[in-house]
C-alpha cells in the first residue's frame, strides 16, 4: 500500500526504514534539534501585574520560599545523575529535578518582578537575568527553603523518603495556590500540580516497593524515614510572610494543607506496613528555621558547588 501518511512529512528520519515515532514531529523547521514540538509557555497570556493588597516585599519573599524549595530539591536530585541504581531511575530522577528547576526559574523571576530589591547587585553590564542572579549570587542566609530539601543525599531510600514528604506537601500547597489572586503564581501552580502529582506517585510507589521488598530495603527505608521525619513539620509550619500573603488571597498558609498531607502520608504508611515515626521536629535557632534563612551547614557546601562557576564569571554569557 502506498505510504501517503509519511510522504507529506517535511523532515522524515532518513535512517528509519519503517518510519519512527519522531517522524513529522519536527514541524516545518528541519534545523530544529528537539524532537518534541508544541511546547507551551506556562505564562502565555497571563496577566503579570502585581495584585493589590499585598506588600511587594512579602510577595517576593513568598516566591523565594516556593522557588528555593524547588531549586535546592532539584539540585539534590540532580546529584544522582549517573549515580542512580539503574539507567531508568537515573533518567526519572533527572526528569523530576528538571521539573522542579523549571518551577524555581519561574518563581525566582516572579520574586524579582515583585520586588527588584531582592535581586543581588551584579557588575555593570552583566547579562545575568534576575532569576539567575537570585539562584547563583545569593548567600545562604538569603535562601528561604525548608531544611528538608537541603540535607545531603544518602542512599536511594533516603531520596525516596525525602521526595515523598516533599512532593506530598508541595502538591497540597500548589493545588491551593492555583486559585491565587496573583495570576502568575496561579499559572505556575497549575503547571506544577501536574508535575508534582507524578513526583508523589513516583516516590509513593518506591516507598511501598522498598518497604515491602527485602529485609535490607526495608531497613534502609525505615532508617531514612527516621532521619528525615524531624525535618518534615517545617513543610507545613506557617511563617509570618506566608500568613500575610495567605490573608491577601495571594499565597497559601501551608498549615491549612497539613491535615490533607498527613492523610496521604498515613495511607502510604499503612499500605507499606510502616508505623508513623515519632521523632520531634528539628528545632530552629531562636525560633528561626529554613524559611528565615537559618540553614544547616550542608546548604553552604551545596551552594558553593552550585554557584562557583556563575560567580567566577559574573559577566559571562552562557
Amino acid at each position: 500500500m502506498p505510504d501517503t501518511t509519511h510522504g507529506s512529512h517535511p523532515a522524515p528520519d532518513p535512517n528509519a526504514e519503517h518510519g519512527s515515532i519522531f517522524d513529522g514531529l519536527l514541524g516545518s523547521d528541519a534545523s530544529q534539534w528537539a524532537f518534541g514540538t508544541d511546547f507551551e509557555d506556562p505564562l502565555a497570556g497571563v496577566d503579570t501585574t502585581i495584585p493589590d493588597g499585598v506588600a511587594p516585599a512579602d510577595l517576593a519573599a513568598y516566591c523565594l520560599m516556593l522557588a528555593d524549595d524547588a531549586l535546592v530539591a532539584s539540585h539534590r536530585l540532580s546529584e544522582w545523575c549517573s549515580r542512580a541504581p539503574d539507567l531508568e531511575e537515573d533518567i526519572a530522577l533527572a526528569n523530576i529535578a528538571l521539573d522542579l528547576l523549571g518551577q524555581a526559574r519561574l518563581l525566582l523571576a516572579r520574586a524579582a518582578a515583585a520586588d527588584p530589591a531582592v535581586t543581588p547587585a551584579l557588575p555593570e553590564g552583566s547579562p545575568v537575568p534576575p532569576e539567575d542572579a537570585l539562584a547563583f549570587f545569593r548567600e545562604q542566609e538569603a535562601f528561604r527553603n525548608v531544611r528538608l530539601v537541603e540535607v545531603p543525599n544518602g542512599d536511594f531510600a533516603h531520596t525516596v523518603v525525602r521526595l515523598l514528604l516533599f512532593a506530598t506537601a508541595r502538591l497540597a500547597l500548589l493545588e491551593r495556590l492555583a486559585h491565587s489572586r496573583d495570576h502568575v503564581l496561579a499559572a505556575v501552580a497549575a503547571k506544577g500540580v501536574k508535575e508534582v502529582t507524578y513526583h508523589r506517585d513516583y516516590a509513593g510507589r518506591w516507598f511501598l516497593t522498598l518497604a515491602r521488598g527485602t529485609e535490607e530495603s526495608r531497613r534502609r527505608l525505615l532508617a531514612a524515614l527516621q532521619e528525615l521525619w524531624p525535618l518534615y513539620p517545617e513543610m507545613t509550619a506557617t511563617h509570618d510572610v506566608e500568613a500575610r500573603v495567605a490573608a491577601a488571597g495571594v499565597g497559601v498558609d501551608p498549615a491549612t494543607a497539613a491535615d490533607e498531607v498527613d492523610v496521604v502520608l498515613e495511607q502510604v504508611f499503612a499500605m507499606s506496613g510502616v508505623e508513623r515515626p515519632q521523632g520531634a521536629p528539628l528545632a530552629g535557632v531562636r525560633g528561626r528555621t529554613g524559611r528565615d534563612g537559618l540553614h544547616t551547614e550542608a546548604l553552604s557546601r551545596m551552594l558553593a558547588e552550585m554557584q562557583v562557576v556563575a560567580r567566577a564569571h559574573p559577566l559571562g554569557r552562557w
Binding site: G19, I21, F22, G24, L25, F35, R205
Partner: protein
C-alpha cells in the same frame, strides 16, 4: 572454581515499549527497558521515551511474551508477496481528501 554457584541476582525483566505520538496514528516501537513489573514499566517508559514531548499513549509488553517470526522463515513467509503487484490498490485514483491510505 567450577562448582561454585553464581550468587542469586535478580535481574528485572526486559520490556518492549510502544509510543503513540501526538500526530501519530498508531503505536510505534521505540525501544526497550528493564522494570520490575508492568506498572513500573509504564512509568519508566514515560520517563525514558516521552520526556521530549513525543507521546500521548504508551504500551509496554514483556519481551519474552512476544512471539516473533524467525529469520530462517523469511523466504516462505515474505518472498511470495514480492511479485503480487495486483494486491496493491494502485489501479484506483485515490481522492486527495482521503487520508491515511
Amino acid at each position: 572454581m567450577t562448582d561454585e554457584q553464581p550468587s542469586v541476582r535478580a535481574e528485572w525483566p526486559l520490556y518492549e515499549v510502544f509510543v503513540r505520538g501526538k500526530r501519530g496514528l498508531n503505536h510505534v516501537h521505540v525501544g526497550s527497558l528493564h522494570a520490575a513489573d508492568d506498572q513500573m514499566a509504564v512509568r519508566h517508559a514515560r520517563d525514558v521515551y516521552t520526556r521530549r514531548n513525543e507521546g500521548v499513549s504508551i504500551w509496554v509488553v514483556r519481551a519474552d511474551l512476544i512471539t516473533a517470526s524467525s529469520p530462517d522463515e523469511k523466504d516462505p513467509l515474505f518472498a511470495p508477496s514480492g511479485d503480487k503487484v495486483y494486491r496493491h490498490p494502485t489501479f484506483y485514483a485515490i481522492p486527495a481528501d482521503v487520508p491515511h491510505m
